[in-house]
Symmetry: C3
Subunit: 439 residues, 3 copies
């Protein structure tokens, strides 16, 4: 439960908000690399943390993320021409490069006056980098950019990963909370039965354990990059099935399902505004390409990767009630909505555009959510006091893993982490040649 | 004419508003019985007096009207499962019954903590009853429920009545004002001529009298349940045609057209919010079933019963300007809009979402409207002072009639009421076996 | 650059705003004459400077512009009947004429009470005149109407002019600024090349000069009716190509393109509200009918006259991004949008619904814009102090011309005006028989 003030603090990320400032102390994923594939293509409209922006790749390959407003008389550079290393306004021909510098003012005659204008007439721009199949941007104070976070998917060859993007029609925080709450798997994603049989059918034992134990015990350990969380369910007699996820400050999580040999999965939340966000979903294998079978499944949009249109809007969305099928709900799927990603989207959106956290009744399995809020609110408040978030300057703390494990009942969570990941908080020390691993 | 403050007082019925509190002292019709026909069907979204709610019939046949928000983390119970005597949230499986009690918390392990949560985690719910083909709800203080109002249509066999529901896209009060203003019949519902003839054609003498005398004299008598109103028009020489309607506190009216042997008609207004309302329209015969011919007419949607879609939205509505046909208006129908109900809807909506009553010029035939405002504003103000509305606890005052009569010019309104209804305010004492009739 | 306060002052024209009051001191063009062609046709909804109104022609040919609200109970007179010299409300038959006087109250019996109501129950109405193919209205203080402005297109025979109307989806002021900024022609309207050739193709030398010199020098001279502005570009060696436009207080401009023998062009901006405006565009010849060829071009909608639908909404508009064609933009049209009018609309709308003038970097070629703001803001402020705008009472100052000229480099702007128009500020003294020409 949060007070209304805390809820505001948690959910608002526009310019000047405390949480917005915290977000702006970290490199942020803003687009898929495919969105600015070729130079000199039309600029692409973006809205990120409440700011309207244009994304474009200029002739020399550099990517720009700039405000869409010409410095002359405020015409929209979206209508502009991306040509010869800059974006040219079509009202009077002014031109700006990826750094926001004014590089041409053709409606003035050459001379000192024009030179002065070209020196001072800038448009707002944000540094960007390509990293792991994504475009990352720095919205923070100039010159304070840290190195990019050492997320594993950025370290593997492109063929080892699969990235997608989708619109989520609610605030970033409640969607992230859905991801670090592993208890919901027993309900939101429950398969009731195969058609006609009336009996539950499980793809594998894991699915059975998840569905048969709807009240997992939950443990949370803080670390340098965020939180590692374990939800334990009864498995075969004498054993527990652990699902271990990560929350990485401020807006990333690693998913709990991976068994050794299977692809890892991560999600990042980029607020469009306070009532919508982009979710970037990555699945990757450290040591092999994504298989054809996996690729086919991801492309089909029924996994963590959603089925989306050309604007990355899911086919099943708020407007069509996620194509909720009451007959399906009665007979086959607990939720009546097809698709793992779509089920998550529906239930998270259903909490409202911005979930009201003042009227909650939390349970032990909400422990991860409680710790997440405490951590990120603390960092935002610290920053208001001038204390920078330590994670921002330590890219190596983002090198960590998540996944599932089956262990005897008497093995502690800490020991499970050591056995499964070789590290007490599942940090991937082997990913970091020449670096000091997180502790 | 009302001051802006009085207009606010009259029109706002959200939680906590004075008029909203008055409404909540009476059983309110909220849905047709057909809307929750079978148990264990999906819950139905409702918005009533500004509150979002779910309506459902649970396994044992009981109907619930509850807030749609799970007490755990606020997920929308609309996506939930109506099963085994309760509505189950699909996020983590919490379950609530028709009384709003929490009856299952499966994401917690059994024990005292879970017991405590199940005891305290309630969702808001409102008692409901089925009565006269409708679902009625009690939004008032717990335990203060009176008996249901003795409206005649609830006392007759189902085959003797016909009920419909339609959306009206304006505030409840101005629509009700349209119903108790019988002068508008001479204009809004006027038929100009049959096609081609250029001469007015009347179905019967009543229609002719209505159209030929557009300035009826108007009389209003207060009674225990509200107001009885008579509009008198010139009929055959030496006679008056009386159209007598009822206003029943706070949001019902009985229509003035009924001649002996014809069906009665009533309307109730249930605010969706302050800019929309549901109108429930009932036509019934005390002593015989609705005839096939009447049924056909009602089904066809050109009477007081509108033609609506599956969501009870009229085919002719604000968005399509009620299919106003200017050629029809020029030649055949004064208003150019087809359908009695549709004509009323159009002209009432046209006053604005919430009519501004500060710029009116009222006439003698608006006497019923003036008295209605005075009565209902007085009751709302009294309630603010702690004085309960007396009608609420006297269900028998709702047993009354309305209709038309033709009488010699020198017969007073009081005498007309006695002759036509056998009672000075048209109360139906015979409907109330073993009860004290209203006085 | 304007302060936010100045920008508000410039852009808001609703009732009671300073700029709105200034507008209301001038006859304003509100509709094409064709919009109220025949008597007794249905009233037409208008929104003008934030006010909802109805426009209709009554039986005797007079045109009324009245508020749409019946004085009785506020029903919408749009649903009313335009018959027998007045607009009749269909709720209770009240009737109002073009002067807003109540001429019938049929729901009351004859007598003093009804007489009193008919005397006092007025609806707001505005005097209108037909002038130059347009309906003009007077929104100012009763009795202060000046004579109509002596715009030339109103003085020529109907066959000598072509008038159109179109919706512009932004504030009036920035659209007018687009018209008096002749520098934008070199960019917004630039043709890159004919298909396939890769080389620019010019229709005539003027187009070539415009495109080859994107930094015209700009001169502005104030006069009794507003401003005359000249933009000079390099033409053939030793010559300048002058494009001379007019700004006429408070919301008209005359276009700079006309060479002798060609039609003149003017535009007037009528705010719908602060975020939309109507543009009336007139092209006319003083001494000959519009030719068939010109007519065909105007009808085709690729000139200053836009292609619009039956509600005067351009086919290419904000919602469809003006059918921006990126391939066209890459190869043939600098802006990628077809149509002179459509190019202007797109770039002006792109500045926002209301352009923010606090973040501008103005250049010498924006001199006309700077003077326009200064002049019109000064008049609005003066009026707040009780000083009436002098132009309002001098209709003859609106008789002036605009157009292009080619002159040797050493001829001053004043001399160019004398040579081209025979008057130092291009006033058309010959248009004013018996009048004192403007000085």
């Amino acid at each position: 439960m949060l007070t209304p003030e805390e809820n505001e603090l948690l959910t608002r990320t526009g310019p000047g908000t405390p949480m917005g400032e915290l977000f702006r102390r970290f490199w942020q994923p803003v687009a898929l690399a495919e969105e600015v594939a070729a130079p000199d293509q039309p600029p692409k409209r973006m809205k990120l943390m409440g700011e309207d922006l244009l994304l474009f790749r200029q002739s020399d390959g550099r990517v720009g993320l700039v405000e869409p407003r010409c410095a002359h008389r405020g015409a929209d550079l979206y209508f502009g021409r991306n040509e010869e290393c800059g974006l040219r306004c079509v009202y009077h021909g002014w031109k700006f490069d990826a750094d926001g510098r004014c590089v041409d003012v053709p409606n003035m005659q050459p001379g000192r006056a024009r030179d002065n204008i070209m020196k001072t007439a800038r448009i707002r721009s944000y540094p960007v980098r390509e990293w792991g199949g994504q475009i990352w941007a720095w919205f923070g104070p100039e010159g304070m950019e840290p190195e990019l976070p050492m997320v594993e998917w950025a370290l593997v060859p492109p063929e080892n990963r699969y990235i997608s993007k989708k619109l989520q029609e609610c605030n970033w925080a409640q969607s992230l909370e859905g991801a670090i709450d592993t208890a919901h798997f027993s309900y939101v994603h429950r398969v009731l039965s195969e058609e006609g049989t009336g009996k539950p059918v499980y793809l594998d034992k894991r699915q059975q354990w998840i569905h048969e134990d709807g009240a997992p015990t939950f443990e949370v350990i803080g670390h340098d990059g965020g939180l590692v969380m374990g939800g334990a369910r009864r498995a075969d007699p004498g054993e527990l099935y652990w699902r271990i996820s990560q929350y990485l400050v401020p807006n990333h999580s690693l998913a709990p399902g991976t068994f050794p040999g299977e692809p890892y999965a991560a999600q990042s939340w980029m607020p469009v505004d306070d009532e919508n966000c982009w979710i970037f979903t990555v699945t990757w294998c450290p040591d092999r390409p994504i298989s054809d079978e996996e690729l086919e499944r991801y492309d089909s949009g029924r996994s963590v990767h959603a089925m989306v249109d050309e604007n990355y809007v899911p086919h099943r969305n708020r407007a069509n009630e996620y194509m909720l099928d009451r007959e399906l709900q009665r007979t086959r799927l607990f939720m009546g909505i097809t698709g793992l990603s779509e089920q998550d989207a529906a239930i998270q959106d259903s909490q409202g555009r911005i979930a009201d956290r003042a009227r909650e009744t939390l349970t032990p399995s909400d422990a991860g959510i409680v710790q997440f809020r405490k951590l990120v609110l603390g960092l935002a408040r610290d920053l208001q006091q001038g204390i920078e978030p330590p994670q921002a300057q330590r890219p190596e703390v983002y090198a960590c893993h998540s996944g599932g494990a089956v262990e005897p009942e008497d093995v502690s969570f800490g020991e499970v982490l050591e056995r499964r990941f070789g590290h007490p908080t599942a940090h991937a020390t082997d990913l970091l040649p020449g670096r000091q691993a997180a502790e």
